[in-house]
Amino acid sequence: MSEGEMARLMEEVEEKKKLIATIRNKPWRMKRRLTHLKEAQQFVDKFEGALGKGKGRKWYAYKVMMTKKWIKFQRDFENFRTACIPWERKIKEVESHFGSSVASYFIFLRWMYGMNLVLFGFTFGLVVIPEVLMGLPYGSIPRKTVPRAEQATAQDYSVLMDFNGYCKYSVLFYGFYNNQRTIGLLKFRLPLSYLMVGIGTFGYSLMVVIRTMAKNADVGGGDGDEGEFTFAWKMFTSWDYLIGNSETADNKYASITTSFKESIVDEQENQKDENIHLRRFLRLLANVLITCSLGGSGYLIYFVVKRSQEFASRDDLSWYEKNELEIIMSLLGLVCPPLFETIAELEDYHPRIALKWQLGRIFALFLGNLYTFLFALFDEVNTKLEEEESIKNASIWAMKEYYANYTRLLNDTESTPPPMDPSDVIRGPCWETAVGVEFVKLTVSDIQVSYLTILIGDFARAVIVRFLNYCWCWDLEAGFPSYGEFDISGNVLGLVFNQGMIWMGAFYAPGLVGINVLRLLSSMYYQCWAVMATNVPHERVFKASKSNNFYMGLLLLILFLSLLPVVYTIMTLPPSFDCGPFSGKPKMFDVIMETIELDLPAFLGTLFSYAANPGLIIPAVLLMVLAIYYLNSVSEAYQNSNMELKKKMQMARDEEKNRRNNTDSTNQVMKDLEDLLPNRSLAPPAPPEPGQFTPQQLCSYVKCL
């Protein structure tokens, strides 16, 4: 075969391969697809073999074989992956009863569960298990033992519920981990692994969130104007094909009919002449009220935090006083959103816009609460750091005394005394564990409050409406209070903020991710049951369109906001001197320096020291800034050309319509051009063609004759 023939054949083979890859996207009948597929595969097999023979073609044949194996492996992996996806039946049931918008919350929950499971795998496999298997057991060193003073109460239920006692000195929290550089036979570097897992948690979450956002980006497609295709879209995209339950279907028919009637009325009515001034005043009033309540909630949290700092110095606290901060925060998250909704009634917006305002306000509320909480924690951390100084000296002094006493009692200065019993050693305040405990307590109280709310707000309400209806004066089911509707936005925001807290706390409490996995798992079953048993489908469905990416964008923002405190503490705060994997080092990231010096070959160390040179870093940062600026301007240029093209298409469409309807052109440019056309009536009469006379000229000539 000649070279030219071979090249042509290779091209054909590539084409057939492309056909095989895209054959499922073609709108053909199945039988036609199957026959074409078989033909293409036979062609490829026959000629790939032929192309693979002869000298120099061994590499091609090898490449072909590896591609085939890779495709098969990918297919098997896809099969395995889809087989592992849980809860398909459950979600399908929810979809068929409530439609796609409610089910989207459960799909989001399932996605979060998957992400948390991976994070749990990292933390558990690389941090917890090595410490448990290869590290020192409980009771061997001071940081792993309950102090003698607390031992009497360490097993009490109330103490355990507060995450003190045995809980505090367990793998759940930062303080348990030993700072030995390598542990066990495998020389596993635990402190390095702890730091890497902490950073890797954020890296992995970032990657997963951005990948999902990119995937969702082209689902939106809604870049037409809101009013451009109102009736057409209503007609062709309002029925939800997922519905499989007859009650839901009846509901949907009713809501579609109402929606059409409303659009017809909007179309026929002129602009409503209502009182613009009254409306503006009411909107201003509503915004003022809401700002006041946001400010009030911020101040309340600040006040409670100051009180809890006072409580910290006292000892005789009631259960309420110990948990006041968490209770108040959870209550605020529960009470304020319905309050905002009631105030928003004053504003009288279109439901879709009102939903957006509501989401924005709830977000501001949660954000304010979270950051006030964080500042409070930082105050506590600083006090603990100051305490540490004095305790450090005290514990060294106590150790010297103990040795002195021992040698004195035995009158023998030669023998080495046994080490002090671990539970007697004076401990530092260990601020990292304290922070971890705060986050765990907050998460647990959040879980309790949300479960209780569903139980009381939805279940008890449904039971009351159902059974009291028989003996009540008005129809409880149709009027007030009736059954609840599932609050999609509130639940999604709660999930997003919960995840933010997990990200913040996971560095100080490795067990927190495990607690979250359990929470998401039980949440799935509990909320699926609650929705099916106690909720009714929404009467009007208004999705904040493109809302899928809205929630992902929120998640990304929260990820960055929770990254900041953790990175700040790693970089600036000194670790406690006697607890955790970084104890004894001046800063936490010194572990990396140590590893580079001791474990990696020498040239890598010099390489890193060159790379860390400011002379290299500053140009790199400048380069990145320039690259961002360039990409920004390129994307702006693309957007502009996009707008131009759209405008052109719109103009062409409008011209067609106007020409059809014989109305004057509405396009100003066309109007102006028409005005510029010469006015024929003003022109002098044209001279006659040679050999041709107009009738008048003929007449005049005849008259002359």
């Binding site: 095989i20 054959i23 499922r24 996207n25 709108p27 009948r29 199945m30 039988k31 199957l34 597929l37 297919r75 098997d76 099969n79 889809t82 087989a83 398909e88 979600i91 399908k92 979809e95 068929s96 796609s100 939106g220 497609g221 809604g222 870049d223 037409g224 451009e228 295709f229 109102t230 009736f231 057409a232 879209w233 007609m235 062709f236 995209t237 309002s238 029925w239 939800d240 094909y241 997922l242 519905i243 499989g244 339950n245 007859s246 839901t248 279907a249 028919y253 579609i256 009919t257 059409f260 009637k261 659009s263 017809i264 179309e267 999705k543 369109s545 493109k546 067609e656 319509k657 059809r660």
Partner: protein, 187 residues
């Protein structure tokens, strides 16, 4: 994976995986659903490509299609004879197009076929009226129906023939933000 199933040969399963958006497990599950619609008609052994079609009446009783106002049109659009008799190939094709993974362009083509009641490759006013009546269970007055259909055609019609060709329909539907999430059946 080496599962010992005897319904399809491995080549058949691979071919189905190439031609649809389903994985091996889902195709076997679909065969189970197809079989349970008529256990005496549908053979368990598909290795020899048996020629077996199920009538429309059996398919529209599936729980996924039962409540859909367009169930008859859906099944008719995917059947070769246009009467709604589906072989297993067409059954799989139907659920593949309506699944989550099918791209927007493919769904737009079949949506156009479904809403084209008189099968003339145009969505004329009668098609729109039928669609609207099915959607609202005939709750709108004839004047309202007339108005809505007129407005819909005005909005989407680009070439001015008072009916929607596929180009008009596609231009309109690909911008709809809800199209992909509503035109979806989970099996």
């Amino acid at each position: 994976m080496g599962n010992k199933q005897t319904i399809f040969t491995d080549e058949q399963l691979d071919a189905y995986q190439d031609c649809t958006f389903f994985t091996r497990k889902e195709i076997l599950r679909l065969h189970g659903r197809y079989h349970e619609l008529a256990p005496h008609l549908v053979p368990m052994d598909y290795t020899k490509d048996p020629d077996c079609k199920l009538p429309l009446a059996l398919i529209v009783n599936m729980p996924e299609l039962k409540e859909n106002p367009f169930r008859n049109r859906i099944v008719e659009s995917f059947s070769e004879d246009g009467m709604g008799n589906l072989s297993f190939n067409e059954f799989v094709d139907m659920f593949s197009v309506l699944s989550e993974m099918a791209p927007r362009e493919l769904k737009a083509i079949y949506a156009f076929k479904i809403y084209d009641f008189n099968v003339d490759n145009y969505l004329c006013k009668e098609d729109l009226e039928k669609t609207l009546n099915k959607l609202t269970k005939e709750e709108l007055t004839p004047e309202e129906v007339e108005l809505v259909c007129q407005k819909a055609i005005e909005e989407a019609d680009l070439d001015g023939d008072n009916k929607l060709s596929f180009a008009d329909f596609e231009n309109m539907i690909t911008r709809a933000p809800d199209f992909l999430s509503t035109f979806h059946i989970r099996i």
